[in-house]
Symmetry: C2
Subunit: 192 residues, 2 copies
């Protein structure tokens, strides 16, 4: 696979899914792949950096979760407005709020600039992995308002890309995303 470093316009790859579904892993891998092929100007809004600089102090109420998502979304539209491709991975559990971000991004980047990537793994699968030990705590009632356990997750109805991280490899997920970008002329020169 090769990518030519040619972007027509900015776009926003918005990874959504449960904690532990693989959002950060796949988004990092896509970012790495794009950079490896010479596309250096893609911003990955890293979870830690976003929490430190942008959303510090927000909690898990519906209002705070929405503020979190809309604030990240606002930064994404700012980058897209200036033709900078951006990727971000936030649980973003509410459909309506994600759609607000879609509207913001498409307002500046045009239709298609918001690419929702549903990282689909069931609660059971995420709890089985439980990389950070959070599901065990949530299921024991030690973490209130934990998405998928004691707080809602509303899956996208028509995500542009769906990744099934329980049945496909990380590389397969990456290829799906890159193919999408190629097919929609955001990147070019992809070869297998």
């Amino acid at each position: 696979m090769k990518l030519s470093p040619f972007f027509q316009k900015g776009f926003c790859l918005w990874f959504t899914g449960l904690s532990g579904a693989g959002k950060s892993t796949v988004s990092s891998a896509v970012h790495h792949t794009l950079r490896e092929h010479g596309i250096a100007n893609v911003e990955l809004l890293d979870g830690d950096e976003v929490r430190t600089h942008l959303t510090h102090g927000l909690g898990f109420s519906r209002a705070d979760r929405d503020t979190n998502v809309l604030r990240i979304g606002w930064v994404c539209q700012l980058l897209v407005k200036h033709s900078v491709p951006v990727m971000t991975a936030a649980i973003s559990p509410y459909r309506e709020t994600r759609n607000e971000v879609r509207t913001m991004v498409e307002r500046v980047g045009g239709k298609g600039a918001f690419i929702e990537v549903f990282v689909n793994a069931s609660v059971e699968e995420c709890a089985r992995r439980d990389v950070k030990g959070l599901y065990a705590k949530a299921m024991a009632g030690e973490i209130p308002q934990f998405t998928g356990v004691s707080d809602p997750y509303e899956p996208p109805e028509q995500a542009e890309i769906e990744l099934n991280t329980a049945s496909e490899s990380e590389e397969e997920s990456v290829v799906k995303v890159v193919r999408y970008l190629d097919e929609h002329a955001y990147i070019s020169g992809v070869e297998d």
Copy 2:
């Protein structure tokens, strides 16, 4: 005056000064001038938009003021990192905090990418204008923690640009900023 639409790299024009000193007026005018001369990709982080999407809910304690400034600064460095010139106008009263932003911006944009613009007008002058009627209220003790009246403002010690809005016209201030950008090769082709 003519500008050629050629930017070498991103930069951050950081307007600081008292409420009513003219930060928004001059920064808007510079933005307008640059756009008029074909430089369309300059972001002006507008006060209202920033308050709505980025810093909503923050108050006037030292901690909240710092969070406000650092959050705007973080967004500025993100744009500069991707070669997008950005302008912003926040009171940003604390020297140390502005210097933290300087460090963040220069880390990605290189030395010189942070351009501090001190919009210098005295409290007396700002209170005389009192466009929003805030100084009268602050001086009557109706607004606590009002910068310059009941809260500190630490002027820059070595601002790259100083505007004296009491003695110079808006156009003169704009020309100072544009000349600076030209002399430092951020823009080119400026003619009188």
